[in-house]
């Protein structure tokens, strides 16, 4: 019952956010046409006048339809699972998402899970053993990855492993000579191309999970049941994971949920440096070109993903810590 209430609240939140987003997007300042025309003159060698006329002809946004009716049409579409239509490409946003999102989800969820898992374990270890040498190392590593923009880490990995050592490819999600199919060849090339992006992302983010876990675990350490477990003679590692870890996990689960939701925004880092396909490119295009239809659909996606992830996180709390009762 409480779960249903929570779901209801989540849906209301989503509706509220979607409405707000709709009006914010429509009121985004700026006119994308000039910039687009400037790009065209420098690639197609035509005059500015010609370019402006072309972009005006291509950008067929008709503001004559009253905003409210646009809004209603949009929400009706959402209820049917239709994310809307891109004004520029005149394609359904669903189609764009279906093609581009899987790559993003593949790389980012792998990296997220890896960095979360490794980071949490490290965090637990350094919280448990306060005097270990691992602590300053992890702290130093955290400070290093924190200060280095992920951009640089990715570039360095690209330079060393792809360009100099040639162990991994420099771009793309798979070798274009292999046709996408459920074949062993295809899977192999996909994994091969995914290693560097996943490595870059994981390398950048592991430390922050470790420190977050440490911070959370430290407060748990003072609890009586930890002392009691020790007195009972339970194995150290068991106390660390089962007792401390599980309780310390609580706030991190929130972070994980938010990160999963944020995944829908794509990763500019991975898509730029590793020339990897993904939804981030479309996000960027949509905003730069003020493609309202695409912007709305994509923003809805991230909002829905975040809200849903938070909903799941709320449920997970009760599983992780049975003392929590989700009152309504």
């Amino acid at each position: 019952m409480a779960i249903l209430k929570r779901l209801g609240i989540a849906l209301i939140t989503l509706f509220f956010v979607t409405t707000l987003t709709f009006f914010v997007v429509r009121n985004t300042p700026g006119d994308a046409l000039q910039e687009w025309a400037l790009e065209i003159v420098q690639t197609y060698g035509i005059s500015m006048e010609d370019a402006m006329k072309q972009v005006r002809a291509m950008y067929a946004y008709n503001p004559d339809e009253p905003v409210v009716s646009q809004y209603i049409r949009y929400v009706k579409g959402l209820a049917h699972g239709d994310l809307g239509t891109s004004i520029l490409y005149k394609t359904s946003v669903n189609k764009i998402v279906a093609r581009a999102l899987p790559w993003t989800v593949f790389v980012l969820s792998t990296s997220l899970l890896l960095s979360f898992t490794i980071g949490s374990i490290l965090g637990m270890v350094i919280a448990w053993k306060r005097k270990t040498v691992l602590d300053p190392i992890i702290t130093g590593y955290a400070a290093l990855t924190g200060a280095t923009p992920d951009y640089i880490t990715a570039l360095i990995l690209l330079m060393i492993f792809a360009i100099n050592l040639k162990w991994f490819p420099t771009k793309g999600a798979y070798d274009p000579s292999v046709k996408p199919a459920l074949s062993w060849d295809f899977i192999k090339t996909v994994l091969h191309h995914a290693v560097l992006p996943v490595a870059a992302y994981t390398f950048e983010n592991t430390a922050s999970w470790a420190l977050a876990m440490k911070g959370s675990a430290v407060s748990v350490l003072g609890e009586d049941y930890i002392m009691a477990a020790r007195a009972r003679g339970l194995k150290e590692s068991r106390i660390m994971t089962r007792y401390m870890g599980r309780n310390a996990m609580l706030p991190l689960v929130t972070g994980l949920a938010i990160a999963f939701g944020g995944m829908m925004g794509g990763s500019v880092l991975i898509e730029t440096i590793f020339n990897y396909p993904g939804i981030g490119w479309f996000f960027n295009e949509a905003v730069n070109r003020r493609d309202y239809g695409l912007m709305q659909g994509l923003f809805f996606l991230t909002a829905a993903a975040t809200i849903f992830a938070n909903f799941v996180a709320d449920i997970l709390y009760t599983w992780l810590d049975p003392r929590i009762r989700l009152e309504d």
Binding site: G146, K214, V218, N247, T306
Partner: protein, 294 residues
């Protein structure tokens, strides 16, 4: 006859505990010293170190020397002077953004967790909205309305976006903590809500909040670069985040052997600052949680 006297409760107990931890825990001391160093740099640095912003192209990417302790940047300006002059704005933005963010997050998270019910639902709606609303269009609107210069206003703008995740995390911890026996006990004993919050709940979530404080500071530095490129704040070539951005994108400093000093200087500054804060926080854990002291 011996009288067992209960020592009078010390005022500034927290400060005294901090002092004792610092004396014992070398790492916390190191962190404290580093932070103090940065504070000094921000406070008096700009008066001591002169900054010449004029371009001297032929003096670009010089290696460190007596005249230029950290070398020069892509147009021949002294990197060390840039770091020192940037420290004031960068550190104030970072610090205040973190303070405001943590303040809002703690308030929202605690209210939500403790009260529950309708207030919780409303506050979580607000939190989710802030978490999911697309930042870029809103920032663009901000840029047309607000033209700010001072770090505090900028910190406010940054913290408006940043508090959502922490608020949820705090709430989750409060939800767990409030069912504990010691809270029950405090309630039964009739201790005021204020006392429960400050003396019982806060110390428990502080280590987690402290780590987040640091990450918010680091994120604020990066975010300030984004705001510069939107026109919310004027361009500043001494902002560490912008220095890094310029080094990579415009100057391509990581491709040039001699560019290594310019590219790493702001990174090292940020790393040191974070290290100082992290080490100090490590000691802070012990202050707040006496059971951790060995």
């Amino acid at each position: 006859m011996t009288t067992a006297t209960v020592p009078a409760p010390r005022r500034f107990d927290l400060l005294y505990q901090t002092y004792r931890v610092l004396r014992r825990n070398k790492r916390a001391l190191a962190g404290f010293l580093i932070l103090a160093g940065f504070l000094l740099m921000a406070a008096i640095g700009p008066y001591v170190v002169p900054l010449d912003m004029t371009a001297h192209y032929e003096q670009r990417y010089l290696p460190p020397s007596l005249a230029h302790p950290l070398g020069t940047d892509y147009v021949g300006r002294d990197t060390f002077a840039l770091i020192v002059h940037g420290s004031r704005d960068v550190l104030s933005i970072a610090f205040f953004a973190a303070v405001f963010t943590v303040g809002i997050a703690l308030t929202v998270g605690m209210l939500s967790g403790l009260q529950g019910g309708m207030l919780d639902a409303l506050l979580m709606l607000l939190t989710n909205t802030v978490l999911t609303i697309p930042k870029f269009p809103v920032m663009l609107v901000f840029a047309t309305i607000f033209h700010v210069k001072d770090p505090v206003s900028l910190a406010i703008i940054l913290s408006v976006w940043a508090w959502g995740g922490l608020a949820r995390a705090v709430r989750s911890q409060i939800l767990s903590l409030k069912e504990r026996e010691f809270i029950e006990a405090a309630r039964v004993m009739g201790l005021s809500l204020g006392h429960i919050i400050i003396k019982e709940l806060l110390p428990n979530i502080m280590p987690y909040v402290a780590i987040n404080f640091l990450y918010i500071m680091k994120d604020a530095i990066t975010a300030s670069v984004g705001l510069m490129l939107l026109g919310v704040i004027p361009f500043s070539a001494s902002n560490w985040g912008m220095m890094l951005n310029l080094a990579i994108k415009q100057a391509g400093a990581i491709y040039i052997p001699q560019g290594i000093y310019y590219a790493t200087a702001p990174m090292v500054a940020i790393i040191l600052f974070q290290l100082g804060a992290l080490f100090f926080a490590h000691g802070l854990d012990e202050v707040l949680n006496p059971r951790l002291r060995s």
